[in-house]
């Protein structure tokens, strides 16, 4: 917002009048466009009749309560899957982030206290471990979540592991999101001023202690908005549960459509529900961020630009303006 006011002058009375006229014109144009391009064709195709909309919006309709019972089942299932997925992704993502930071310092270590072959072995080993985690992260980050879920649901049973579809979905979402969260946290930790790490080393903390006591809490704080917006991503991605017949809201929608044949209407309701929940989540992210920004200024911690990966996750997930 602050940027916008810089781009053009504060309008004067003439400009303001012009803007008002333009605003009304544009507004009218949008309305007219919507009427001719959306309302009329829909009306013509009979998509606006109460017969199709009634079960969804008219409490007096015979199917109304049944439909909303089903929809609430779907909402509960969607939220369950999203909650489980976000909790497990956070836990695993933190672990992976710490692991990666540790491995990175380990790779730099020369193991001088050991005999030469042993030190070479240790260096080779830590390099290998680091490479393996790196590859895993790249692979899981580079695969579509749809496929991860699909692979989990089809692949695990091949190895004799069977469970509820809920858990296939949660595992699939966790694999992808924990990797993303790990990267968010890692870049948060690496973005911290080097003085933090140095100071921690100076008071005798080991690298692991440094990460857990000093770096991680700060990274969490800085990255909180990005983490919340990842929640939006998870919530949206639970909709992929329909692929493996998990009864989340889209799948329930499919069943309602099977009974009432009103696909457009059901999907509009589902879309609105999603937008409401996710919009409030991103508002929350914005609020948290503003609080944090204020807190940082008063506490006078050295501020750095949020590292670019913050932008990355923001772009993928949709946190609000960094």
């Amino acid at each position: 917002m602050s940027q916008q006011s810089v781009l053009y002058d504060v309008p004067g009375p003439r400009q303001r009048r012009l803007t008002l006229v333009l605003s009304i014109l544009v507004g009218l144009l949008i309305l007219v466009g919507a009427y001719f391009l959306v309302y009329l064709p829909m009306d013509e195709k009979g998509q606006l009749t109460l017969e199709l909309w009634g079960p969804l919006i008219d409490p007096g309709n015979e199917n109304f309560s049944a439909v909303w019972d089903r929809i609430s089942v779907g909402i509960v299932n969607t939220l369950t899957a999203a909650a489980l997925a976000i909790v497990s992704s956070l836990a695993i993502g933190t672990l992976v982030a710490v692991l990666r930071i540790q491995l990175k310092t380990l790779v730099k270590r020369r193991f001088t206290g050991f005999a030469t072959p042993v030190s070479y072995l240790l260096r080779g080993l830590s390099w290998l471990l680091s490479a393996v985690t790196r590859v895993c992260i790249e692979v899981f980050r580079g695969l579509p979540v749809v496929l991860t879920i699909f692979f989990v649901a089809r692949g695990l049973p091949e190895f004799g592991i069977t469970m509820d579809t809920l858990f296939y979905l949660v595992i699939g979402l966790t694999i992808y999101n924990s990797v993303v969260i790990a990267e968010i946290l890692r870049s948060g930790m690496e973005g911290l001023p080097p003085g933090q790490r140095e100071a921690a080393a100076a008071i005798g903390l080991s690298p692991l202690q440094t990460t857990i006591i000093v770096l991680l809490p700060q990274a969490f704080r800085i990255m909180l908005p990005a983490l919340i917006s990842q929640l939006v991503v998870v919530l949206k991605d639970t909709s992929l549960g329909f692929i493996i017949s998990y009864e989340e809201i889209l799948n329930i929608g499919k069943q309602i459509i099977g009974a009432l044949s009103n696909p457009i209407q059901v999907y509009i309701v589902i879309a609105v529900l999603f937008i409401l929940v996710n919009y409030s989540l991103s508002k929350l992210a914005q609020y948290v961020q503003r609080r944090l920004a204020r807190g940082r200024k008063t506490a006078d911690t050295p501020t750095q630009n949020p590292p670019a990966v913050a932008l990355v996750s923001q772009a993928e997930g949709g946190a609000s303006g960094v």
Partner: protein
């Protein structure tokens, strides 16, 4: 493992189709996203509201729902997306010109959805340009358009590249959904076809399909990491 060799044509065809839609959708999303971004920072309130509404709606909806509206809502509005049958382009991207509109529908859905994220990436780039720049430009009497064109956008471009790249990577991955909305023969639908309908073993097919996506996403990701690191060094 034989399926990878015996049915290589299926994998290659799937890769080609996914690649096609990704190229087209990336171009479309960049253009539309830029337009929406300009709307969002423009001086006219209804345009700004329009831009904001667009981003709010499309960023908070699952792509599945967007895909559904493209595939089943557009026909209700009386459109088969025929305007996408672009004469020369459909020689290269043959699916654009087929009678079956689902490739075009999926393309529209991907473009609409991704454009919201492109807009946000661009806007974050604009925000990264220090306000002093725009103030100075205004001080020497530049208008809104001049300001954007000569001062802000050229600088914001640099800050946009990494987030834009991630948006495109996310889009490539999202394209895996098109197979569920009537586009026959893309990478993810081929996986389904080979394992469910033709009964091939699951693991080799999974590996083949994964490679198809990773070929596109991993190098792009590595490139972005490189640019990001360079910029970080330059900023120091």
């Amino acid at each position: 493992m034989n399926v990878l060799i015996d049915r290589f044509d299926v994998f290659a065809g799937g890769f080609w189709l996914t690649f096609q839609i990704c190229v087209l959708a990336a171009i479309g999303a960049l253009v539309l996203g830029a337009v929406v971004a300009v709307l969002r920072i423009s001086p006219v309130p209804p345009l700004r509201a329009l831009g904001t509404a667009y981003v709010t709606v499309f960023r908070n909806m699952p792509l599945t729902v967007v895909m559904f509206f493209a595939a089943f809502g557009l026909p209700v509005l009386g459109s088969n997306a025929d305007f996408l049958r672009i004469p020369v382009l459909d020689q290269v991207f043959t699916r654009l010109g087929t009678d079956l509109p689902y490739f075009r529908f999926a393309l529209i859905a991907l473009v609409l959805y991704t454009a919201a994220f492109v807009c946000e990436a661009l806007r974050s780039g604009v925000n990264a340009v220090s306000p002093g720049q725009a103030e100075a430009a205004r001080a020497i009497g530049m208008t809104f358009t001049q300001n954007l064109r000569f001062v802000v956008l050229p600088q914001s471009w640099k800050a946009c590249i990494v987030p834009l790249g991630s948006v495109i990577i996310a889009m490539i991955k999202n394209s895996a959904l098109i197979g569920f909305f009537g586009v026959v023969g893309d990478l993810s639908q081929s996986a389904d076809q080979l394992t469910s309908a033709e009964g091939f073993a699951f693991v080799p097919v999974a590996i083949g399909i994964s490679i198809g996506y990773l070929i596109m996403t991993v190098p792009l990701g590595a490139l972005l990491d490189r640019i990001e690191r360079r910029q970080a060094v330059a900023a120091r």
